[in-house]
């Protein structure tokens, strides 16, 4: 984990490694996937275990599970409307998967699977495909009128239609890059300042130890900031998914 020599190695934390040695090696199951499985287990435990007692007055875990449910339900209902109920489990799963990926990544020694563009792009592509399939299922070929807003001057069609198509196709890219970049930037910053702590602290004796306090304090603040970002990015992912679903259901 520490810097090798004097170089700051902020990127090796993102490297994939086989999980449990030969077992993971044989099925190409990396530590990233292990964290996904952990997230799956934690989310399932929170939702199923948390509400298993079905208490009228909820305990902490049940209150957490319920507020998570109502938070995402509020977003989906607010954005998509009452028809959005069908897509609620999808948006909820996306939100929780991203949220737990971001949060677990902040634990020491943990891996952040949302810091991989392949993962975030796959999630965004999944959203894109679901949204497009929903739109086609509801509106059929009428869906393509989405790319030309009603009432726009016909003369501008050659300009508007390509712009609309490009903006539609760029959705998964912006969605995935936003999450990926936020996570990578946060973890690189944490790693860089952590390396400073070690480098300054081991460089100049007592003075170095005093000097190392500054990047250390910076890292403490950064962790707090990263917790905010972890939640915010999951929220953004969920709300954008809901907005796209709104467009798919209502066409503008």
């Amino acid at each position: 984990m520490a810097a090798e020599g004097k170089a700051i190695d902020a990127l090796s934390q993102f490297e994939l490694a086989p999980f449990l040695g030969a077992v993971g090696e044989s099925v190409r199951f990396s530590q990233s996937n292990a964290h996904m499985l952990l997230a799956f287990g934690l989310i399932t435990a929170l939702m199923l275990w948390g509400t298993a007692r079905r208490a009228i007055i909820p305990g902490r875990l049940q209150a957490l599970a319920e507020s998570g449910y109502e938070f995402i339900y509020g977003i989906v209902e607010g954005q998509v409307g009452s028809e959005g109920k069908r897509y609620f489990p999808f948006v909820f799963s996306i939100f929780m998967f991203v949220l737990f990926g971001n949060m677990l990544g902040l634990l020491p020694f943990a891996f952040t699977y949302t810091s991989h563009i392949a993962v975030t792009f796959a999630l965004a592509a999944l959203v894109f495909i679901v949204v497009t399939v929903v739109a086609l299922a509801i509106h059929g070929t009428h869906f393509f009128s989405y790319f030309f807003p009603e009432g726009a001057p016909k003369a501008l069609a050659p300009l508007i239609i390509p712009i609309e198509i490009i903006s539609y196709l760029s959705r998964p890219i912006s969605l995935s890059v936003r999450l990926f970049a936020n996570m990578v930037a946060g973890h690189v910053m944490l790693k860089v300042f952590a390396t400073f702590v070690v480098m300054i602290g081991s460089a100049a004796g007592v003075l170095g130890l005093i000097g190392a306090v500054l990047p250390m304090a910076m890292n403490v603040a950064l962790v707090g900031f990263e917790i905010l970002v972890a939640f915010l990015q999951a929220y953004v992912f969920a709300i954008l998914t809901s907005i796209y679903l709104h467009d798919a259901v209502h066409l503008h």
């Binding site: 994939l16 040695g21 190409r28 199951f29 997230a39 399932t44």
Partner: protein
């Protein structure tokens, strides 16, 4: 179902330190220049996505089939409970209001009855008192009448005696003066004199 998930959770929790160890033991196992995330030639990058789709699919299935319906039913149960409680509270309030109104009307009725009883008793007492005083008045008047009659009788008797006394006295005087008695003329003279004075 829940038990299986419990075991799965415990297993994955137990695996966390192992993961850390593996990550520490394999620094740069798949290392290459630049960001590891952009190394799409690395088969692990793609395998990661395949596993993710499987895990996410499982997550979606469990959420949609078990977890979210359960949470929804818990929330629905609470909502129903609260509504039921509110309704029963309102029913109780209605009942209490009705009891209060009943109580108030009973009180008003009792008060009115009491007022009527008091008024009746007062009237009766007044009637009795006036009757008694009337009777007393009548009795007193009778006694006064009787007394007056008695007085009149006594006076008459006295008046009768007076005539006798006057006649006898006048006769005696006449006898002494003229030596003889003419009682008839004396009686007539006395009568005449009494009549003249209005006492005959």
């Amino acid at each position: 179902m829940t038990k299986t998930i419990r075991i799965a959770t415990l297993l994955s929790l137990a695996a966390l330190p192992a993961m850390a160890q593996v990550a520490a033991e394999h620094p740069g196992a798949t290392s290459s220049a630049g960001m590891p995330q952009l190394d799409f030639g690395n088969p692990w990058t793609i395998a990661q996505v395949v596993w993710m789709l499987i895990i996410f699919g499982a997550l979606y299935y469990v959420m949609a089939q078990y977890a979210l319906p359960q949470v929804a039913s818990v929330l629905e149960a609470r909502r129903a409970r609260i509504e039921g409680d509110l309704e029963s509270a309102q029913a109780a309030k209605r009942q209490a209001d009705a009891a209060l109104a009943e109580h108030q009307s009973a009180t008003a009725k009792a008060r009115a009855e009491a007022q009527a009883a008091i008024a009746g008793a007062t009237q009766k007492a007044q009637a009795e008192a006036s009757a008694r005083s009337e009777a007393l008045n009548a009795k007193l008047a009778a006694q006064i009448d009787a007394a007056e009659t008695q007085i009149a009788t006594a006076r008459d008797a006295a008046m009768g005696a007076l005539r006798q006394v006057a006649t006898d006295t006048a006769d005696a005087l006449v006898t002494r003066l003229i030596g003889r008695s003419d009682s008839t003329a004396v009686a007539a003279a006395v009568d005449r004199e009494l009549a003249a004075r209005g006492r005959g």
